[in-house]
Amino acid sequence: MRTFIKLLLSDLKQFYRDRTALFFTFAFPLLFMMVFGLAFSDDNGMSYEIGLVDEDRSPASEQISTVLKQVSIFNVEQVDSLDQELVRLKKGYIRGVVVIPAGAQANIAMGKASSITVYYDPSQSTSSSIILSTLNQIVNQINQQLTNQPVLIQVEEQSVQTHDLRYIDYLVPGILAMSILFLGLFGSLTMVERREKKVLKRFGATPVGRTKLLASQVVYRLILAIIQAFLIIVLASLVFKVTVIGSWFELFGIILLGTLAFISIGYFVVVRARTVEGAMPIIQLVQFPMLFLSGIFFPVEMMPTFMRPVVNALPLTYVADALRQIMVQGVPLNPMWLNVAVLGAWLVVCVTLAIRFFKWE
């Protein structure tokens, strides 16, 4: 036990002294999350810049303007020149221009139809469709009030989510899964390096057992995984108000299981590699498809159906899904037991193969 603790402390000390490792293990996932989180956080609470040109200047048009200005997703700026606003629209500074034409009040008073013109940029399809449908809704309401028609049918919104799932809620468990992937897969490189540089040979000249050498490496990685996950979750909750809804116990259980699975996969894929230079590309080859096909950054549903068998074959899919279910109670991809079972199977198979084929010298 004394030997094991010494080995573990040595690894931790060396990690702490290695600035590059420190950066890539702790700072990199955090930076990644900040960049992605801030870049895509506009979906919710976003407002669209709208230009408003009131050519009527009547109490009625004033009323319409007021209603428009109260719409939460619109940031309305009333201006005089239509031409100037259209230039701004084309350049992308604003998303739409609403024009209330002269004579609107007169038309309404006479019971004649009057039209409000909306200029929009069809290349901004998402924002344009939101703006147009919102405007239609508002105009309908105004019509109802003006004609005193009773409201007979109403749409009541009912979300199936117990709470609003934002992109960041989707992203954070993905970042966690990604950092587990890195931490686990690259773990075997230390051993390959120590074998290549004959450090393992020197250890082999002492009575220390290989089990202890390996166990201390694995436990060291697990400790890093816990610290790393903790930092990610803390930052996510401070900056993006992402909270862990499910049980912390289950969350860290999956983090440990996932790290173990990826450590064993990492050891298995490098059994044939003699040098770090030889092992590195193999690990990157394993890691690359998982980064993009496991639903870390965007939902698996967005991928074509023929990719699904690939997606389902990748262990990271199950880590990400399990973490997402526990943390933010996202839509489950697989039942929880299946996630755990698949990760367990990867772990058992790769550990067996790695023990069978890993060369110490």
């Binding site: 040595s10 004959k198 020197r202 000249a205 009575p207």
Partner: protein, 313 residues
């Protein structure tokens, strides 16, 4: 084999052989190391020294042959043997971001029994650099660290593979003190070296190996007197006489001429000397004759004679 006999030898090597492809790195060698002696294995690079030591350490497996260390077969119980032996490998790289002190302390934790780290740092003059990371140590410091690591478990027998390589003269003398101190304590040291001076000074017995075979065994003085009853006479002169003239002198066995320097091996020193002086007088070269002296043959001479090569070629 009686118990007493077994105890006398701390390591026994019988018909050891190891091939790498077509190369016979170790070619059927047998020898014994006695308890409490400093045993030297001498030979040029590539002679098979390191392979032999690593098989005895249990770090490599032999193709054939038997190795017994401390009465145990190295193939069967390497773990128990490793507790009691110390191994210094040729330039192993260690954990670069651990300090010298931490490295020793880590290795000490691998053994049931270990020497105090301070003592080891002291005898190997490493106290000032105890906090230095391994990657920042100089070559000589790393070399001394690797010797310290071999001694950390206070071993019965220490295998030191070229321990003085890369050490400056002062550090080398320090290392010799450490080895002599071990002998005083009744420990055994197995040393490989290609420094003749080191082997002559330290070793009780040596084997000379070349191309994987033992070509001579004995104490340094035995080897010198066995292979060199003659001694060497050295002088420089200009112009030098021809080899043919010198070989006619009484007692001369071998002559080597290098520029103005002449080396004559002779088994009748007085007769050869007077012939040299007579020749100088006859040819009016007495004024030119410089540095005339007689010296004892060394292991270097033995090696030259046995292999026809200088040891560090």
């Amino acid at each position: 084999m009686t118990q007493k006999y077994a105890n006398h030898y701390i390591a026994q090597i019988k018909n050891l052989a190891k091939c790498y492809g077509d190369v016979r790195a170790v070619d059927d060698i047998s020898f014994q190391v006695c308890r409490g002696e400093v045993f030297g294995m001498l030979g040029p690079n590539g002679a098979g020294k390191t392979t032999t030591v690593e098989i005895i350490d249990g770090l490599r497996t032999a193709d054939s042959g038997e190795v017994t260390v401390l009465g145990m077969d190295v193939k069967r119980v390497p773990g128990r043997i490793k507790e009691k032996i110390g191994i210094q490998l040729q330039s192993p790289s260690l954990l670069p971001l651990l300090s010298l002190e931490e490295t020793l302390s880590l290795f000490a934790s691998f053994y049931k029994r270990s020497l105090p780290i301070d003592y080891l740092l002291d005898i190997l003059a490493l106290k000032e650099s105890r906090k230095v990371f391994v990657k920042n140590l100089s070559g000589g410091q790393q070399q001394r660290l690797s010797v310290a690591m071999a001694l950390v478990n206070d071993p019965e027998i220490a295998f030191l593979d070229e321990p003085s390589t890369g050490l400056d003269p002062q550090a080398r003398r320090g290392l010799w003190d450490v080895i002599e101190d071990m002998r005083r304590k009744g420990k055994t040291v197995f040393l490989t070296t290609h420094y003749m001076e080191e082997a002559e000074r330290l070793c009780d017995r040596i084997v000379v190996v070349d191309h994987g075979k033992i070509i001579a065994t004995g104490s340094p003085s035995e080897l010198i007197s066995r292979y060199f009853k003659e001694r060497a006479i050295r002088f420089s002169v200009n112009p030098t006489p021809t080899k043919e003239i010198l070989k006619e002198f009484p007692g001369v066995i071998e002559v080597a001429i290098d520029g103005e320097d002449v080396l004559i091996y002779s088994d009748q020193i007085p007769a050869t000397m007077s012939a040299i002086l007579g020749y100088a007088e006859e040819t009016n070269l007495t004024e030119q004759l410089k540095d005339l002296h007689v010296r004892q043959a060394t292991l270097e001479d033995v090696f030259l004679k046995l292999t026809g090569r200088k040891i560090r070629e």
